[in-house]
Structure formats: structure tokens, C-alpha cells
Symmetry: C2
Subunit: 201 residues, 2 copies
DNA sequence: GAAAAAGTAAACTGATGGGTGTAGTTTACT
DNA sequence: AGTAAACTACACCCATCAGTTTACTTTTTC
């Protein structure tokens, strides 16, 4: 019999808890998730849960850490058409937003953090750090004289704003399904074209 | 002595409760607001509170009703420049979003309704009904051949999306202050110009 | 001025839920 | 086989909070 089982029981329990918590938080949000519920779903006693994570907050933090680790950087290429590069970026972004589990978790983080001014500011700052990569791209295109002058950060914000208007806020706030592939293409096309119509020279 | 006091004690209590609840909900959200807190802030006994409003939900509904009653309709005028008309509309919209108490309440409604799929959908549907007025305007401008063909609803969504990207979501989600007058003008100018750059013919 | 309507304070109910303590059982390792 | 670490079941503590009850006072109204 092959030793396909390298994980100790404790490690199995640990990841079972994480997985169960991820689902529970995504379904019910932070406040409406109970530790009893998590432990039941994980098939673990409540005491074990607390042996692995000392509080509900700590568990929540561990779960949501991955949400902040996205990479939206893109290298500006002087040879390729702007439209192509922007479209590629948008595709990457929408793919993430549509990935399973992302929306539910993002929603429960929002719902929880929105209440506290500090936490909300910190969370959104981290969330929007990802726009830095794009604003660098816009700046490069600007210096290459392919876009007219403007504030790169604002342009990035406008670009992402258009995308989120159709592919994030409705899903987050109104539980709309992720856009279909056809819808996705239209959203990307329109957003890219609109930005370029305004800024390309 | 003038009879400036036409309100009965009961009416005074009633409005004191409404005002206190408005503030409490805006500050702490639905779940984190307690009926004890509301009655204390209103200077009213808890029993009196319950004599006026039979449950926390009912109170919340009464408070948030006004949030949905905005009117974004605008009459298309063939003679005036499109830019001028759109700018006027945007100003009206941003004025509402910046009005005191609006953001806090909107935030607590979001935070509460987001948890339930049905309520979230219903709430957002009502919230976005206001875009109907604008899409009718876009359609009229289209029929007047001053805009090129397109889906009026989508254009309205894009237009409002740009405005909200700078003047609603950051305030709602990240507790950012409302834009200053200067910022407001830039936001409006850019959003209007971008829409027209893409759709005007 | 008396009855009816409305308000008050404070204790209480019932349910929920985070977190702990304990006594006994299972698993892993030597 | 024996020990330590990890897990389980479950009772328990404690705080919060929606909503109620009671016994009593104030205001309104006729």
C-alpha cells in the first residue's frame, strides 16, 4: 500500500476547518457564521477548532488573507496595439472576479469591514493597491506619446471602475451571476474602447 | 405666547425615535444597532419605542424608505448642448450622494441586505430604477441622431458607473469623505466627456 | 376633574453564540 | 506496550439583545 497519506490527522483537521470556514463565511458573512456551524461543517469538535484558531477573528483573517494577493501588473509594450494590451489586462481581471468563491468571500469581507472606518480604509487601500500596476502602464503609454496627458491613477481608476460596474458590484451587491463569456467580451470591448476614445491620441 | 407647539407629545416621541434610529443605523449598521440604544438616544422608554414600531425590522424599513425615493428623470431637450444636459444630471446625482446621512444609511442598508440574495436583488433593483430616467434621455438623444446607436440602459449604467466609481463606492466602502467641489467638477467633467467621446456622433 | 391614552423604569424571558473546562478516547511515535 | 499529543462530547459561563410584563406616573381629552 502506497504511503499516499503523508498528512497527519492534525493537518487534515486544520485544512478541513479552513475549507469549512471559507464556505461558511462566503455563504453567511462574518456575523452570521457561528463557530458551532463551522466546526460541524468541518466534522470537527468545537474544542479542536479553538485549538487551531484562537478566535473567530483569527480564523476570518486567515481565510481572507488570500483575497489580497492578486497581481495586476502588466508590462507596457511599445510595439503591440494599446487595445490588445488593455484587453488582455481586463481579461485577467475579470477572470479573477468570476472565480468561484471570490465573490462570496469578498462580500463577507466588505460586509464586515464596512462597519469600521479604519478597517474599511485599510481593506480598500489593499484592494486598490492592485491598480498601481495599471497606472504604471498608463504612464508608460503616456510617455510613449500614445496617450494624451492625464493623471494615470485616475485613468486606471476609471478603467477599473467601468469593469467593476458590470463585473463586480452587481455580483457583490445584488448577487447577480458572473457575466457570461459573451457578456464579458462586450464589457471588455466597451470599457477598453471608451478609455481609448477619450485618452488615445 | 405663540402656540408654536402644535405637536402632541406622542408625535414628538415618534419623530425623536425616527431621528435617533436614523443616526444609530447610519453609525452602526442594522445588526449592531440595539433597540435599547435607540430608545436611550431618543430619550424614550423602550416600551414606548415598541408602541410606535412593532419590531426592529419595521423601524429599519421606515427609516430606509426615503433612500429609494430619488428622482433622476430628465427631459431631453433638442436645443441644448448634450454636455450641458448631462452635466446638470450628474450634478443632481452627486448632490444627493453627498447629502448628509445618505452615505451612512446607504451603507447600513447594503450591509444588511447584501446577506440575503432576495433582499439584495430587490434593493438593488429599486436602487437602479433611477437609472431608467437617464436611459430614456439617452434614447431620445439617439433618436435625435445626436448619439450613435447603442443600448441606452448600458450607456446609462456606464455613465452612472463612472460617477459612482468616484463619488459613491469610495465613500460607502472605504469611508472616504465626499468629493470637494473642485473634485466634484473634475469627476463630472471627465465622466460626461468620456461618454460623449465614445457615443457622440 | 376624571377617564383614557401614552409614557416610564426596571426586571424578566428566551434565544443565540463566543469561548472554556473537563473527563475520557483515539492516534502517532518510540 | 506505553506515553504524549490531539481529538471528542458535552456541559457550562457569560454577554448581548429582541421583545414582554408589571406597576406606576404624566398628559390629553372631554
Amino acid at each position: 500500500m502506497p504511503s499516499s497519506q503523508k498528512l497527519t490527522r492534525s493537518e487534515l483537521k486544520h485544512s478541513a476547518i479552513l475549507e469549512a470556514a471559507r464556505l461558511e463565511f462566503a455563504e453567511h458573512g462574518f456575523q452570521n457564521t457561528s463557530m458551532d456551524g463551522v466546526s460541524a461543517r468541518a466534522g470537527v469538535s468545537k474544542r479542536t477548532l479553538y485549538n487551531h484558531f484562537s478566535s473567530k477573528e483569527e480564523l476570518f483573517d486567515k481565510i481572507t488573507e488570500c483575497l489580497w494577493k492578486q497581481d495586476d501588473s502588466i508590462v507596457y509594450c511599445p510595439k503591440r496595439p494599446l487595445k490588445q494590451q488593455l484587453r488582455q489586462l481586463a481579461e485577467k481581471k475579470l477572470e479573477l472576479m468570476a472565480s468561484p468563491g471570490y465573490v462570496g468571500l469578498a462580500r463577507s469581507v466588505m460586509g464586515e469591514y464596512m462597519r469600521s472606518q479604519e478597517m474599511a480604509q485599510a481593506a480598500m487601500a489593499r484592494f486598490e493597491e492592485n491598480e498601481d500596476g495599471v497606472s504604471i502602464w498608463f504612464q508608460a503609454a503616456m510617455q510613449d506619446k500614445r496617450l494624451r496627458e492625464g493623471d494615470p491613477k485616475m485613468i486606471a481608476h476609471q478603467f477599473y471602475g467601468l469593469l467593476k460596474t458590470f463585473a463586480l458590484w452587481p455580483q457583490l451587491l445584488a448577487h447577480q451571476p458572473a457575466p457570461t463569456n459573451e457578456e464579458r467580451d462586450v464589457i471588455i470591448e466597451q470599457s477598453v474602447d471608451m478609455i481609448l476614445a477619450y485618452y488615445q491620441q
